[in-house]
């Protein structure tokens, strides 16, 4: 049962799929401006505006927000929207990697991949129903607590909301046939039909996400309306607003990482409760694959996040500064703790997993150094930009920032830290891949030397760029390090994987991998990954929505409710925590129900013989 090689293909396929979607999004971007479709809509827009079909965004007072049963409307909408998003992220992501794993199973004719894919989709079926239920709840909550906002948005997005509802039927149909037809559509042409269904399922699911993203990004960067909020009638302009594609890309990648982490938690739970050796081996293998999926998507995620933040800044300098340098700045220190947790737990799981191979001993001596670097990079990311200081502390420090450590609080240092973390996680992966192999090519020493040189040069370049831009340039140029640093990281990782694939061509195996030979504590690393991901998504969802501050639709429709205030981070964290606990309880229910379907009771003497 050799995971890494086919799994590498999985990663590659994931990347290709992700890039494919990005290209589709970019093509749509260009397409929208030049196509006949857009021209037709622009014409309709002019006519609609001329005919005065749409009114301005309503100016609300506190009386326009119904008080229902003494419930705080904002918290209800906040929690329900967050729960809906968590489940939606999960059920959109699972079919993506289920499809890829099914393809791998078909190519390798290894049935275990097919079985694993089926088990993944089985877990997501109940979650799918919960997503729909929560989506309905969210719509009701919006209509009840924010009727004018809902009316305004549904006026602009009436068409896309209608198509969304229709697509939901298509999604359900594709998912149910895909799942319930799994064992029926096996072998030969039928398998192709099944795979096609999987593709349709993913295409519809992704389109649903893109539509919903348009509604929320319109609230952040409204388009297709004038300064008073009068809709011009061009639905495409409103959908294709400034932040639509950055959010699309970020969510697509993050969903995969999140879906991987949740099924990882499922596998961990099954591993811990497994009774037989074979069952433990199966769920260990499943947990490894889930973790691999989560990490593959986690590695590009900081870059997608950076792109999103840069686009927010480009859209509105004010919004960008509020995000990174204003009242939300401390949130990124909490985020640092979460990201540190994610990287450390993912790496820890990999290190524990090396125990599956007897050949891993050759690499265990290096792990402590990787751990030290990861913790060091985490601490740099964790360093706040500006501390809240007393006057005495200010005097002792000689200003608001420490002369040497101060720059650790700004972007060049943060970028350096995250790139170093990613590179060292890649090294952990490399050791894991190598653990069970012995290279047979005659130039293995030279190859290893090149690997060392590649990583050394890459890390040196990243650190140099970080120090140069952190200490020796002024504010305006401080972010300039990010692109070359990212490119360095990508080149190092791609170069290393390519080189290793040549070094280990025709390699011998140390022995067969002992799946199931992993300490129980490693499973808790998988739980930690899932919980940290969930909580982090909640926190970042808060900031994405929170940077609108007292606006429903930025600069167009003001929030006049008593809850228009921006809460403190502690308040937000408490809401996110309550929502996360509810979500985790529901996820445990989903895991349990997935297990119940395979339980059988034989009630002796109950039925007529």
């Amino acid at each position: 049962m050799n995971g890494p090689r086919p799994i590498l293909k999985t990663g590659l396929a994931l990347t290709i799929l992700g890039l494919g979607l990005a290209v589709v999004a970019l093509v749509l971007t260009g397409f929208g401006q030049f196509s006949a479709f857009a021209a037709e809509h622009a014409g309709a827009a002019g006519e609609a505006a001329a005919a005065g079909l749409y009114g301005p965004a309503p100016k609300l007072t506190a009386a326009d927000y119904p008080a229902i049963a003494g419930v705080n409307g904002r918290i209800v909408v906040w929690i329900v929207a967050q729960l809906h998003l968590w489940f939606a992220a999960f059920v959109l992501a699972v079919p993506i990697f289920v499809f890829i794993i099914e393809v791998i199973g078909m190519r390798t004719r290894d049935k275990r991949y097919d079985d694993m894919a089926y088990e993944f989709i089985k877990v997501s079926i109940t979650a799918y129903s919960l997503t729909a239920v929560l989506g309905g709840f969210l719509v009701f909550a919006l209509i009840l607590f924010y009727p004018h906002l809902f009316t305004y948005l549904s006026t602009i997005f009436s068409e896309s909301m209608f198509y969304y509802a229709l697509l939901f039927f298509a999604e359900s149909a594709a998912l149910y046939i895909y799942y319930y037809g799994w064992h029926w559509l096996q072998g030969g042409f039928k398998k192709w039909v099944h795979l096609t269904l999987g593709l349709v399922l993913n295409a519809v699911g992704t389109t649903l996400m893109l539509l919903a993203n348009a509604w929320l990004t319109f609230m952040m960067s409204p388009a297709g309306v004038d300064a008073a909020g009068v809709f011009g009638g061009d639905a495409w302009a409103a959908i294709h607003n400034f932040l639509w594609n950055p959010i699309n890309i970020h969510r697509f990648v993050a969903n995969i990482a999140y879906g991987g982490s949740i099924v990882g938690a499922y596998a961990a739970f099954k591993f811990l409760t497994a009774t037989g050796r074979q069952e433990r081996a199966h769920y260990d293998w499943m947990g490894y694959n889930a973790n691999f999926i989560a990490i593959c998507a986690l590695l590009p995620l900081p870059f997608a996040g950076y792109y999103l933040a840069a686009e927010i800044y480009a859209y509105s300098q004010q919004m960008g500064i509020t995000l990174m340098g204003g009242i939300f700045a401390w949130l990124f220190i909490i985020q640092a703790v979460l990201i540190g947790t994610l990287f450390l737990s993912a790496n820890y799981y990999l290190w524990c997993g090396m125990g599956r191979s007897d050949g891993a001993k050759r690499y265990t001596k290096y792990i402590k150094y990787i751990a030290i670097v990861l913790v060091g990079a985490f601490l740099v990311w964790f360093t706040p930009h500006t501390l809240v200081l007393t006057n005495e502390e200010l005097k002792a420090l000689g200003g608001p920032h420490h002369k040497i450590l101060g720059p650790l609080g700004i972007m060049p240092a943060k970028n350096t830290a995250v790139n170093v973390m990613i590179i060292f996680t890649a090294i952990s992966f490399m050791f894991y891949r190598r653990a069970n192999k012995i290279a047979t090519v005659p130039w293995v020493k030279a190859g290893n030397a090149i690997q060392v040189a590649l990583y050394t040069a890459g890390i040196a370049n990243i650190v140099f760029l970080g120090i140069y831009h952190g200490y020796f340039t002024n504010t305006v140029y401080k972010v300039a390090a990010s692109i070359p640093q990212v490119l360095t990281t990508l080149v190092v990782i791609a170069g290393s994987i390519t080189l290793d694939s040549f070094i280990y061509r025709g390699s011998k195996e140390v022995g067969s991998l002992q799946w199931g030979r992993i300490p129980e504590r490693a499973q808790y690393a998988l739980f930690l990954l899932a919980v940290a991901f969930t909580w982090l998504m909640g926190l970042m969802g808060y900031i994405r929505s929170g940077i609108r501050q007292h606006w429903h639709v930025v600069d167009i429709m003001r929030d006049a409710s008593p809850d228009a205030f921006t809460p403190t981070l502690g308040y937000a964290a408490n809401v996110v925590s309550v929502a996360a606990i509810i979500f985790m309880a529901m996820v445990i229910f989903v895991f349990w129900i997935a297990q119940v379907s395979s339980n059988k009771t034989l009630p002796a003497g109950y039925w007529k013989e």
Binding site: A314, I327, V531, V554, T568, L569, A573, S577
Partner: protein, 272 residues
């Protein structure tokens, strides 16, 4: 079952740690409440008061200090009064201003008329400013407020303050967005009335509301209807101890229907 409970406890502890860190590990900064429309009594305002108003707007509603600060995100304004005259002669200047005052006003509502080198939007070769028009959308300053900020900028940069306090627009602005041609329907519910006139922004009732004005939770126990009527129609006649004058709008009597006033008085007198 033991494994299940261990997982549950582990999950709760993890979430508890994240929540605890967010509450106690970092400073809890209370973000400023949403900005409120400030009623400008321009008729009785001195130039010092007008400049002080400009400073408040500069640091508050205008959100100017987000970028115009020592971090170098936008040009420093400490010397803008001196350099403005030079900018008007700069070949890159594309505006229509003839004086420093006009230039400053223009730079607030059409920031791309002149972009200081190095501060333009990326890729525009310093022809487009990232600064928004302060009179529109999110900031939404009135003509008088823009004038106040210009007065403050002139004063703080050592230039002569040439701005005159606008006298004829205050009343118009106070009317806000009320459409006088269509009278609104009278409201019969005192709580809806209080919401319409945003009384809770300054007055607390039952633990909810602002603290700018007196707490009204049990106002009926200590004040009679006549006192309350006077407090609404002529708020500066009696100022409760510990509170400042001129904080409450004086036009309540004009904005409220007579029937509404009586409904509100019934309600307030009943708060005991």
């Amino acid at each position: 079952m033991r494994q299940f409970l261990t997982v549950v406890v582990f999950t709760l502890l993890t979430i508890g740690f994240f929540a605890g860190y967010s509450n106690f590990g970092i400073p809890q900064i209370e973000p400023a409440p949403p900005p409120k429309e400030e009623k400008l009594d321009l008729g009785s305002m001195t130039m010092d008061g007008f400049i002080a108003l400009g400073e408040r707007l500069f640091n508050g509603k205008g959100t100017c200090t987000l970028c115009h600060n020592a971090l170098g995100r936008a040009p420093e304004l400490a010397t803008v009064g001196e350099v403005a005259a030079g900018r008007l002669k700069d070949p890159r200047y594309e505006g229509e201003a003839g004086t420093v005052e006009e230039y400053l006003t223009e730079s607030l509502i059409d920031p791309s008329a002149f972009v200081v080198i190095g501060f333009g939007k990326k890729g525009t070769n310093d022809t487009e400013s990232p600064m928004p028009n302060v009179a529109s959308g999110g900031i939404g300053m009135s003509v008088a407020e823009v004038a106040a900020v210009v007065a403050y900028l002139q004063d703080s940069s050592g230039a002569e303050v040439t701005v005159e306090i606008p006298q004829d627009i205050g009343a118009q602005e106070d009317d806000g967005e009320e459409d006088e041609s269509e009278p609104r329907e009278a409201i019969g519910d005192p709580k809806e009335l209080m919401a319409l006139f945003t009384c809770d922004a300054c007055h607390m009732i039952g633990g909810e509301g602002g603290e700018v004005g007196p707490d009204l939770t049990q106002i009926g126990a200590s004040r009679d209807r006549d006192y309350l009527r006077r407090a609404i129609l002529d708020p500066n006649a009696d100022i409760a101890e510990g509170f400042e004058e001129d904080m409450m709008p004086e036009d309540m009597g004009e904005a409220m229907y007579v029937a509404e006033l009586e409904i509100l008085l019934d309600y307030l007198a009943g708060l005991k």
